[in-house]
Amino acid sequence: MPVLTAELARPAWSIPVPWRVTAARREVHDIVTLDLEPPGLAGFSFRPGQFNMLYAAGVGEVPISISGDPAARGPVLHTIRDVGAVTHALCELEPGQVVGVRGPYGNSWPVAEAEGRDVVLVAGGVGLPPLRPALYHLLAHRHSYRRIALLYGARTPADLLFTDELATWRGRFDLQVEVTVDAAVGMWRGNVGVVLGMIARAQFDPANAVAFVVGPEIMIRFALTALDEAGVPAERVFLSMERNMQCAVAMCGHCQFGPFLVCRDGPVFPYPAVAPWLSMREV
């Protein structure tokens, strides 16, 4: 495979920088986490909720949420679901191989705005990776927040991500973790049911809470209704949107969602801004 070099005459928006894979972990059958390191001592920082464009040589480029700790030094984590040619190529990478990276792009979860309040994190399926950096931040500044609840739903127990970490988090006294699946076999001792059903049981004061929601769009809409019924003000509910993304720099027009460009105005949006557009089909 050709060696990509980081020395470029003039950086242009489309040119990826070669990063090296330092670790590749298969989380569940179709999801892999890649630990990537930038070349040399290049500094890289990101805010929770942002994403990188990952380029698999000659195959293509896709937006992937950064799923690691924004405060950690060292490799930058990206959790990828194998759904097409590019993600498949990325999921097959081994340590030592090279990936093209450009980013970070997008805005971030409003962790500052959530300070002093209860925080409810609602993640569905492969929505947990983009939310995990926010949780890391909240836990690293635990005293700045009141109660924190992580509500996570997946398809089946075999699809649950980061189960070791979930167990560790569950062991904390200052964090409520509720996990559920849509379907399970009899040996499963956990919850079966939709994630929004756990909102009613999460411990938080709706009048003084902030909610971060991410997952498939249908699930997001159900969760928004459940949060509304629970009494969380709409302006303190934030969700992460997804659309076709190619340039990530607000030029190619693909990520349009009504009046918004998801790569520039999102992917995190306050609920009131997107509410009228979410309820319309094919926008």
Binding site: V185, G186, N191
Partner: protein, 156 residues
Amino acid sequence: MDSLEPLLRDHEFFRGLEPAYLALLVGCASNVVFREGSFLFREGEPADRFFLLRHGKVALEIAGPGHGALIVQTVPEGGIIGFSWLFEPHRWQFDARAVELTRAVALDGVCLRGKCQQDTRLGYDLMQRFARVATQRLQATRLQLLDVYGRAGAYR
């Protein structure tokens, strides 16, 4: 069974119930305990009571050859299990298994059915409460059915 009155009165499901009706319900109520792995009811059995879970977790499941038991929903503490007591043919459609040690209040459905027929106001009140829970379960079930976390096209 004096200890059951505050329990029922304070339970979300019975909020706003007239005190006279509450007393009636208390008369039909009893404390029950299920060891881990035991069944609150089995598919096909007569549905003659319903349960308020005080402590523990119950799995609604159904079993078939080749795949064992499949859980469709778990009900947590504070939840309510059992609608089939209220509607013909009064038979359970699923198994309900205690996933862990579970304490519940069991309410005698046969007795309550009789009282509902005598006092239709009571019947209407209970019907509203159960209809609400059934609707919530239906919405949740539909969302589960959509298999939103599945691969694209999994549902289609």
